[in-house]
């Protein structure tokens, strides 16, 4: 009898705690959205921020965040795919492979502030890229790369061994097999993983404070020449991302509506991450369906 009671109590406790987590989450989301959503409007999303007047927007910051994400992905995906394929297909089990795996693990748990400082020292000052989107993208690559490697490795490992062996038996080279047989099968997993990791890049601030800078030069959205300094596409201009902007207006905001802007920007950030998550799920399911149905 007492064992049964203990079981009931324990179950109740576990359910309560699980409910508590959902409650925290709901409270957190509710708080941010409740304070911020009212402030979001088309104008808010597109106009430039104001230093001291009310009514500033987050247009350039939103653009910078997205652009930085794309730049980071352009650098990370080829590198991460290559390294992940190496780890899963070419690396021979042994001391060296263990060592590389350890390195990936260490790299993925490096504090973002250390990565930022390294970026400041080496990328910004030593290589002379200055506070720029490019420096920021390189710093974010350091973060994102281990994630990408792990995602690729897991996805490649999930490919049925028989598929690989069949292809090799047909006389295809190993690289051809990887490229044409295994990668397409692993693709859905890699894609969802990549989108989820994009959310992390989107919200990163500590590393960008020291690399991408805290100001946004005036952008001329009619100028799409990537070499012109006022062009939004120029990767060598400093860029303040949305997360950094929240940090800045929370700390130094002079505008009378700074708290509202911070709340609005936080809500935008959360919504974007939410969209990333939903997108990853949706695409994952779609791919899975397509893959299993047509085969």
């Amino acid at each position: 009898m007492s064992a049964k009671t203990a079981d009931k109590i324990a179950t109740a406790v576990i359910i309560t705690l699980a409910g508590f987590i959902v409650l925290i989450m709901a409270g957190l989301l509710g708080f941010i959205l409740y304070r911020g959503v009212g402030h979001i409007s088309f104008d808010f999303l597109t106009s430039a921020p104001q230093t001291i007047k009310a009514g500033g927007g987050i247009g350039p910051q939103l653009f910078n965040s997205l652009y930085l994400l794309i730049l980071t992905m352009i650098i990370t995906i080829p590198l991460g795919l290559g390294a992940g394929i190496y780890m899963s297909q070419y690396a021979k089990p042994g001391k060296i492979t263990d060592f590389i795996r350890l390195i990936v693990e260490v790299l993925s748990s490096f504090p973002s502030i250390v990565v930022g400082l390294f970026g400041l020292l080496v990328i910004v000052n030593m290589f002379g890229f200055g506070f720029s989107l490019f420096s920021g993208a390189l710093a974010l690559t350091v973060f994102n790369l281990p994630l990408m490697v792990r995602i690729t490795e897991q996805a490649m490992a999930s490919v049925p061994q028989a598929q690989k062996e069949a292809s090799l038996a047909l006389g295809l080279s190993k690289w051809k097999t990887i490229k044409s047989i295994m990668l397409p099968i692993a693709f859905p997993v890699i894609l969802t993983g990549t989108i989820l990791s994009a959310g992390r890049v989107f919200g990163e601030a500590a590393a960008l404070l020291f690399t991408a800078g805290m100001s946004s030069p005036r952008l001329d959205f009619g100028n799409w020449n990537p070499l012109s300094p006022t062009s939004p596409l120029n990767p060598f201009r400093p860029a303040e991302t949305l997360a950094v902007h929240i940090w800045k207006i929370n700390s130094e905001g002079l505008a009378p509506d700074a708290p509202e802007i911070a709340a609005g920007a936080s809500a935008v950030l959360i919504l974007t991450v939410l969209i990333f998550n939903l997108l990853a799920r949706y695409i994952g399911r779609l791919m899975h369906k397509k893959f299993t149905a047509t085969k």
Binding site: E105, V115, N250
Partner: protein, 300 residues
Amino acid sequence: MAQSGGKKRVQPHIIEEWTGKIYTSLCITFLIVTIFSMVYFVAAKGLSSFFVNGVSFKEIFGSTVWKPDGEPPLFGALPFIIGSFSTSILAALIAAPLGICAALFMVEIMPKYGKKYLQPVIELLAGIPSVVYGFVGLSVVVPFYRDLFPGQGLGIVAGATVLSIMILPTITSIATDALSALPSGLKEGSYALGATRWQTLYRTVIPTTMPALMTGVVLGMARAFGEALAVQMVIGNAPHIPTSLFESTSTLTSVITLSMGNTVMGSVQNNVLWTLAFILMAMTFIFVFTVRWLERRAKR
């Protein structure tokens, strides 16, 4: 398109093979070079306070007096080290039971509801940017503690509260993986002997998965240890060892974010800040090695 390579002459076939090998090896080399250069540069900069500026090892790790602009300047980093440890350990203590319970709920109790509701919630928690956590911490957590307890609300408890929510996803997802990897025979055996669910969990499941669960907790701690912006906003930043959990104190990360921009590169204080960054990096290695050790135990 895929099957055209095999029948042709040997040459392109081999070239292709080499392209793949070289490409992937280059990628992995890049990764290795990156981490080595990071360790090298941070270490070189971080150790220069000892070798160039002659700050003694004993002072940084043994003294509690931080007076970078005093006469003579004093760089006792012990308060920050203690602050970082107490905050992240407390955060892990709060988050570990929550995270493990969430995992038990998802795997053992109500897998259907767990997968449908709890899992997305936790994934979303992982995606919320740290500045937003800091913002919420300052507007909700700090006033809450200020009204409830003596003190100003800022301090170790406020920091640990914010951090515990941030590291919850890490602990939960690793615990979930560990629990679902458990062979079902083990549980069934226990049920067959007439044990209740709680007895099964308590006597069989949790002890067997303990090292794996600890892995999650240690990784969560590692994340808490390195988190900067959210902590800096709620910890108070006084460079002293606090007498109460609700008293303003500092962590390694908070003192770096606070002072790095205000000091000139190459100055003694700046170099000491780099030393603190070096300590953070060294701690990452220790955390990762602990995780490895735990994983090896989990496999046995």
